[in-house]
C-alpha cells in the first residue's frame, strides 16, 4: 500500500500543510512498510518535500493549472494515484483540497474521511480518528474500500523532519477539456495580512470590544504576534467587522496553535468552531463567561487596559528573544 500526498503550493512554494502531510504520510508509510510519493502542480523546487519524508515527487507543470480548478486537480491526483498504485491518498484540509477530495474519492472508487486528526488507529482494518459534531466529539471511521482517501486536519500532526531526499519525476497527466468548463473570473485576496486559514496564531474580538473603533488594539496584538484577526458572529452581524473574519460553527473554522479571544463570552457555536485550536487564551471582564471553561489561560480583566500592556510586554519579549 503506497501512500500518495497532494502537496499544495502557492507561487511555487510549498504551504506548511504540505510539509505536515509529508510528515504524516511518512509515519503511515513506515508502519505499512512502503514509501511516500507526492504529486505537485507547478512547484519548481521540490527538494523541501524530501526533508519531511517524501521519497518521490511527481511534478506536474501546466499553464492550464495555474489557477486552482477542483475538477482538473482531482483528475491529476487520481491519475497520480493510479500511476503509483497508491492505496492511500492524503490531502490537506485547506479549502481547495476539500473542494477536490470528494471527486478524487469518486474517481478512485474510494471511501473518504475528512478532518482526520491522528495516525490511523489501525491499518487493517483501516480506522482513522476524526472530529465530528462540530468538535464536540471524535468519530473513529473505518474505510473499507481498496483505495482510501483522507484529509488531515491542520496542525493535527505537526512537522517531523526525516533524513532522505526525494527523487523528482516529470508527470504529464491527460487533462480533459470538460474539466475546464467553470471559469475563474476574478480573485480577491487579502494581501499583506495573515489569513485565518494560514495563521498559526489567531486574535479574535467579540462584543466586549464595544465598537469597531476599538479594533486597533486587537490589530496591534495581531501584528506583534504575526496573527490573523478574527471576530465572533455578533460582531460580524452588526457590521463592526467583515463576515470574512467571522469564526465559529457557521463561520470559518480555526485550528490554530494559539487562539486569543478578547471580549467573547463563548457561545457554544463559537467554541465549536475554534475548539481544534491547541491553546486558548480568554480575556473577559465576566468571570462567569463560559469560554473560561474551555480555555487554557484566562484573564478576568478589562481588554482596554490589558491589551495595550500585553502588546508592550510582547514587544519587549520579542526584542529579547529575537
Amino acid at each position: 500500500m503506497s501512500v500518495l500526498i497532494y502537496a499544495e503550493s502557492a507561487e511555487g512554494k510549498f504551504k506548511k500543510v504540505a510539509l505536515e502531510l509529508a510528515s504524516y504520510a511518512k509515519k503511515v508509510a513506515d508502519s505499512l512498510g512502503t514509501t511516500v510519493t507526492a504529486v505537485t502542480v507547478n512547484a519548481s523546487d521540490v527538494s523541501e518535500l524530501g526533508k519531511y519524508g517524501v521519497d518521490k515527487v511527481l511534478k506536474v507543470s501546466s499553464d492550464k493549472l495555474n489557477t486552482f480548478n477542483a475538477k482538473a486537480y482531482a483528475d491529476v491526483i487520481k491519475q497520480a494515484a493510479q500511476k503509483e498504485g497508491a492505496k492511500l491518498v492524503v490531502l490537506s484540509s485547506s479549502t481547495d483540497s476539500l473542494y477536490a477530495a470528494p471527486a478524487v474519492a469518486i474517481g478512485l472508487n474510494a471511501g473518504f474521511a475528512s478532518n482526520v486528526i491522528a495516525l490511523p488507529e489501525s491499518t487493517a482494518p483501516f480506522v482513522v480518528k476524526r472530529t465530528g459534531f462540530s468538535n464536540k466529539a471524535f468519530n473513529f471511521t473505518e474505510i473499507s474500500s481498496d483505495v482510501k482517501v483522507i484529509a488531515l486536519g491542520k496542525n493535527s500532526f505537526g512537522l517531523v523532519e526525516a533524513s532522505g531526499a526525494a527523487t523528482a519525476e516529470d508527470f504529464a497527466p491527460s487533462l480533459n477539456d470538460a474539466d475546464f468548463s467553470l471559469k475563474v473570473e476574478g480573485v480577491e485576496k487579502v494581501s499583506g495580512k495573515v489569513t485565518i486559514a494560514d495563521a498559526d496564531v489567531v486574535v479574535s474580538g467579540g462584543r466586549g470590544m464595544k465598537g469597531p473603533e476599538n479594533w486597533g488594539m486587537l490589530e496591534d496584538l495581531a501584528e506583534v504576534l504575526g496573527a490573523a484577526l478574527a471576530c465572533s458572529k455578533p460582531v460580524s452581524d452588526v457590521g463592526w467587522r467583515s463576515h470574512e473574519e467571522h469564526v465559529g460553527q457557521t463561520g470559518k473554522p480555526v485550528a490554530a496553535n494559539l487562539y486569543i479571544a478578547v471580549g467573547i463570552s463563548g457561545a457554544i457555536q463559537h467554541i465549536a468552531g475554534v475548539n481544534s485550536s491547541k491553546v486558548k487564551v480568554v480575556i473577559n471582564t465576566d468571570p462567569e463567561a463560559p469560554f473560561f471553561k474551555v480555555a487554557d489561560y484566562g484573564i478576568v480583566g478589562d481588554a482596554f487596559q490589558v491589551l495595550p500592556q500585553l502588546v508592550e510586554k510582547l514587544k519587549e519579549f520579542k526584542a529579547k528573544n529575537a
Binding site: D96, A105, F112, S114, V127, F140, S181, V190, A197, L314
Partner: protein, 248 residues
C-alpha cells in the same frame, strides 16, 4: 428552473452530544433535530429564485421517517415538494449515490446543498454527487446568480474569494453568505398549514456500496482547569505561553 435542495436533518447546535451502545452509536435521546444550517442558507436562496425568477423547489433528504418533520419545515418555509429516500444515511458515498438517482430522475438544473452537515462534518456529499453526475461543482459558495443557463458564483478561498462562471446544471456546496442571515425564513402559520397538503414522496433507496463506517465515538477528555492570571501579571502569561505551552 428546477431546483433541488439537499437537506440534512441534524442535531440543533446547542444539543448535548452523547453516545450509546458502547459508544458505537449517537444517542438521539432528548436531541432536537433541525435543518442543517448550511442547507438552510441554500434553501432560502432557492426560494428567492422561485419568488424572483420563477423556479420550482424540491427538497430531498436521505433518512428514516423520523426526518419528515424537518422536510415538512422546509415545505412550510416555501419548498414546493419534498422527497425522502427511505434509508439511514450511514455513509457520505451512499447518500451521494441516492441523491444522484433523484437528480437523474428529476432532471434538476440546479442542485443546492450545504457544504457540510454539522453532525458528521464529512463535507463530501455535494462534491461526490457532482462527480457521480459529471456536473460542475462549486464548493464553499457564498453567492450565486443564475441568468438563463448562465451561472455566476462567489466561492470562499483561503484568504479571500473567487468569482466563477459556468453553465447549468451545476451542484453548489453552499454556506453562510448565500443569503443574509436576517433573510432566513421562519415558518409562519400559513406556511405550516400549506405544508400539510404539499407532496412528500418516499422513495426506496438504490443499491449502493458503503465505503466508510463510524465504528466508535469518543468525547474529548475533560479539560484541566483554566489557569487564571491576574490582569496586572502579564509577564506570567507570556512566560506560560513561551515555556509551558510553547506557542510563542
Amino acid at each position: 428552473m428546477k431546483i433541488l435542495v439537499c437537506i440534512s436533518h441534524v442535531p440543533d447546535t446547542t444539543s448535548k452530544i452523547n453516545f450509546t451502545n458502547g459508544d458505537a452509536e449517537f444517542d438521539t435521546n432528548g436531541v432536537q433535530f433541525v435543518i442543517n444550517a448550511n442547507d438552510e442558507y441554500a434553501l432560502t436562496r432557492a426560494i428567492w429564485f422561485k419568488e424572483k425568477q420563477g423556479a420550482t423547489v424540491t427538497v430531498v433528504n436521505v433518512g428514516g421517517a423520523d426526518t419528515e418533520p424537518t422536510l415538512r419545515k422546509a415545505l412550510a418555509i416555501g419548498a414546493d415538494e419534498a422527497i425522502r429516500v427511505n434509508a439511514v444515511p450511514t455513509d457520505g458515498l451512499f447518500v451521494a449515490k441516492q441523491l444522484a438517482e433523484v437528480v437523474k430522475n428529476g432532471g434538476y438544473d440546479l442542485v443546492l446543498a450545504g457544504k457540510e452537515s454539522l453532525d458528521y462534518n464529512g463535507g463530501m456529499v455535494p462534491g461526490m454527487l457532482a462527480a457521480i453526475l459529471g456536473y460542475d461543482f462549486i464548493n464553499s459558495c457564498e453567492g450565486i446568480e443564475v441568468d438563463g443557463t448562465a451561472v455566476k458564483a462567489i466561492r470562499q478561498i483561503d484568504g479571500g474569494k473567487e468569482t466563477i462562471s459556468g453553465k447549468l446544471p451545476v451542484v453548489i456546496g453552499g454556506q453562510k453568505g448565500l443569503v443574509d442571515e436576517k433573510d432566513l425564513r421562519i415558518p409562519n402559520m400559513r406556511g405550516i398549514m400549506a405544508a400539510r397538503t404539499k407532496a412528500l414522496t418516499v422513495l426506496e433507496p438504490v443499491g449502493a456500496d458503503v465505503a466508510t463506517k463510524a465504528v466508535k465515538f469518543e468525547k474529548p477528555a475533560a479539560k484541566s482547569a483554566c489557569k487564571m492570571i491576574a490582569p496586572d501579571n502579564l509577564d506570567e502569561l507570556i512566560n506560560l505561553l513561551h515555556n509551558e505551552a510553547k506557542v510563542i
